[in-house]
Amino acid sequence: MHELSITQSILDIALRHAEQVGCRRITRLNLVIGELSSIVDDSVQFYWDFVSQDTIAAGAELHFERVPGTLRCLSCDHTFPLNGRDYACPVCGQTQVVVAGGDEFRLESIEVE
């Protein structure tokens, strides 16, 4: 339910960058969303049409690059997907692991014309 304010922020960032380069309209936004960022991209999409109306980004396509949550084993350096059962390394069985990916949440680029 917090995606509305986040969608607004995405729009603000896109409009600011579009203004810097000078363009008629924004056609596409490329977003990177990690599994651990707890952002639901369907909800962002849902709010997008609403917040972008009457701006130069109206009708722009949202592209989501989803980054899965991954862990890295501190013993053998193996990287493996986050699962909900156990955080043990599937290769060596060690449980000393750290999060290696999935925190991302950024606007990578916009496409304008």
Partner: protein, 223 residues
């Protein structure tokens, strides 16, 4: 002809911007802010009452209490003689920076050393909404089960301190503390951990000693 414009900007939502403003306000008033998050019934209010009772002679304490409805928790805390503001979120499952901001003028900030915020009981949404405090504490409890770090990784990942309450009933539950801590350690390496019981008082002194130290450190950094 479409062209691509690189942006590469972290998306910081309006909430985070307000949180920064709240933090500045606490800093200016010299108030150390703590946000307590937990599932319903983990013992947030019990930990606050324990803490207020133990520290109120040495520090000036205020509280902000978030709940969907009622003033039960704020009443419990106000009964200890400290200013407490209740925020009824009216259905929202978390406190956000704007609710916290609206609570601040209702407290005598310049006359406080410590502000304890009790978030709405929920292990999901509060993790995504910074308030602008100095420290986030997750209060877990034994009856919830030892698999919670695996089921709610975002919450366990985003906090500065972990309290495990209700240690007095550990024997009655199949709670594997090692399994629990392994999950926590993977998500949040080196996370400060205080196993305790608000009921018996076991382990509470270690928590209090840490909190005292943090308030003193905060004051010294200000001077």
């Amino acid at each position: 002809m479409a062209k691509r414009v690189p942006v590469v900007e972290q998306i910081m939502n309006a909430n985070d911007q307000l949180a920064v403003a709240n933090r500045a306000r606490l800093d200016a008033a010299g108030v150390f802010g703590v946000n307590l998050m937990a599932s319903p019934g983990a013992g947030k209010t019990s930990l606050i009452t324990r803490t207020v009772e133990a520290l109120k002679d040495d520090f000036r304490i205020g509280a902000v209490d978030g709940d969907i409805a009622t003033t039960l928790d704020a009443d419990r805390i106000a009964a200890l003689g400290v200013p407490a503001v209740q925020i009824n979120t009216g259905g929202a499952c978390h406190l956000d920076a704007s609710m916290f901001q609206s609570a601040l003028p209702q407290l005598p900030l310049d006359e406080l050393d410590l502000l304890v915020v009790e978030n709405v009981g929920n292990l999901v949404c509060p993790a995504s909404f910074k308030l602008g405090v100095h420290c986030s504490v997750l209060v877990a409890s034994v009856p919830e089960g030892d698999d919670k770090p695996y089921k709610y990784p975002v919450m366990y990942r985003g906090v500065d301190v972990l309290v495990l309450n209700k240690m007095d009933v550990l024997a009655a539950f199949e709670f594997d503390v090692d399994y629990f801590r392994r999950g926590v350690e993977a998500l949040n390496p080196g996370l400060l951990f205080f196993p305790l019981s608000c009921k018996t008082g076991e382990g509470v002194d270690e928590w209090l000693m840490w909190l005292r130290g943090e308030i003193v450190k905060f004051r010294e950094n200000r001077e």
